[in-house]
């Protein structure tokens, strides 16, 4: 007999008058997700294609609910196994075209970080303090040393690195080509439902099959308030000193970013596992349509795949909204 876990954030219909502006705020009309044991599929480690110095082993673990369980201990080398180089990130001059530059996102949209985009940041953000390039040489101000990258790739950017396009070279942190910063993640062998959804907060989201971590939302307010752009490459990944190369969005099939095959029935393909053990699929199906029944974590259930997530769009600074299952402590 199937154990049915219903995790339901209460359906509310409260109207709140916001203190500022007198806005009438709509409240939660939350999706209730019922997940049976049949809807839970074990993690399939054969989907991972990790690079050198990587490993997957089975270990004992304690879940976020305090229960003992078995997890996969996944050690990644932090470099995408399906690519040979990272970038490009920042454009070098104000005339650099999209093909030689990376990306930036804002309000859900992924933009080509061209030289022209850099030169118009003052208009884009409505703030004349933006000046990421030299007015005379038209060269973009890029953090092109380890010292500069580390001073700028942090929440409290020192003033001397305001107005920089921030990029860090993975070679600062790895002597081996095709490797980045190694890290290990625990993922339950079989997902365990939470009684209510768990916040991501500062946790990572999951691990892509190519051995790159899916990171929590980038703190864009901090980045922008220092007049910096933490440039991404086409795959919405960038390097920082602590996490190495990591993703802030899913953008497959553009530029140097390998695509993800649709599933046989046309469903969006999976490209990684969340840290609760549920697979994360692409946003769209083969017809270019989104799923319309996602819960607040961006998950849903079907007969073929059980419960699984669908990533948000490449420019949304997120993959999933919360964890439906327990993560390891």
């Amino acid at each position: 007999m199937n154990k049915v876990t219903t995790f339901a954030m209460p359906i509310l219909s409260v109207l709140i008058i916001a203190a500022c502006g007198g806005t009438v705020v709509e409240t939660v009309d939350d999706t209730t997700t019922s997940i049976t044991d049949d809807d839970v599929q074990a993690v399939d480690t054969s989907k991972f294609e990790l690079g050198t110095s990587s490993s997957i082993t089975e270990v004992s673990c304690t879940l976020s609910n305090g229960e003992s369980s078995t997890c996969y201990s996944i050690t990644i080398n932090g470099f995408p196994s399906d690519r040979t180089e990272l970038g490009p990130f920042c454009p070098t001059t104000t005339t650099t075209e999209a093909v030689d530059a990376g990306k930036w996102f804002d309000d859900g949209v992924l933009y080509d970080l061209t030289g022209e985009f850099i030169s118009k940041l003052d208009i884009f953000y409505g703030d004349s303090n933006w000046q990421l390039y030299d007015e005379n040489t038209k060269e973009v101000k890029i953090t092109d040393t380890q010292t500069a990258c580390e001073a700028a790739a942090r929440p409290d950017v020192s003033a001397e690195y305001n107005n920089y396009c921030v990029q860090c070279d993975i070679s600062y942190y790895s002597d081996t080509d095709g490797e980045g910063i190694s890290s290990t993640y625990l993922i339950p062998v079989t997902p365990v439902q939470r009684s209510s959804a768990g916040s991501v907060d500062r946790s990572s989201i999951g691990v892509a099959f190519n051995g790159v971590v899916l990171d929590a939302a980038a703190p864009t307010e901090d980045i922008l308030s220092a007049y910096t752009i933490a440039a991404f490459d086409d795959c919405v990944g960038h390097v920082n000193p602590t996490a190495g190369y990591h993703y802030h969005g899913a953008n497959h099939g553009e530029g140097t970013c390998p695509g993800v095959d649709f599933e046989e029935d046309g469903h969006g393909g999976a490209f990684g596992y969340a840290l609760d053990g549920y697979a994360i699929h692409t946003m769209l199906d083969e017809n270019g349509d989104e799923e319309s029944d996602l819960d607040t974590c961006r998950g849903h259930t079907d007969d073929e795949r059980g419960y699984h997530y669908h990533s948000a769009g490449a420019g949304e600074n997120l993959f999933i909204g919360c964890f439906t299952g327990e993560t390891a402590r």
Partner: protein, 98 residues
Amino acid sequence: MIIGKSSKHLVGILLISFTFSAQAHESHTHSAPWQVCESKKVTEACEYTNGEMDIYKGTCQVFNSALMCVRNQPIVHAESSTESTEKNVSGNTATKVN
């Protein structure tokens, strides 16, 4: 072409900026997904509009100790009734500028 799109985006920015100032949230950035959840609670409904006037609807969720609007409904594209949306084969929205 670029100027046209930039202008269109600017209109969006101005509208969004106006919305923010109307709500008395002062910031020189306009990261709408964070701003719309500033005075809300976890799982409370949220909605924002990007520079292309597409509508994103979801709930506020916690990232880095702050609330951010996580869309869980399909994007409502501003021009969806007149023109097909720009998508690539891999299942992601295409870039909108340049």
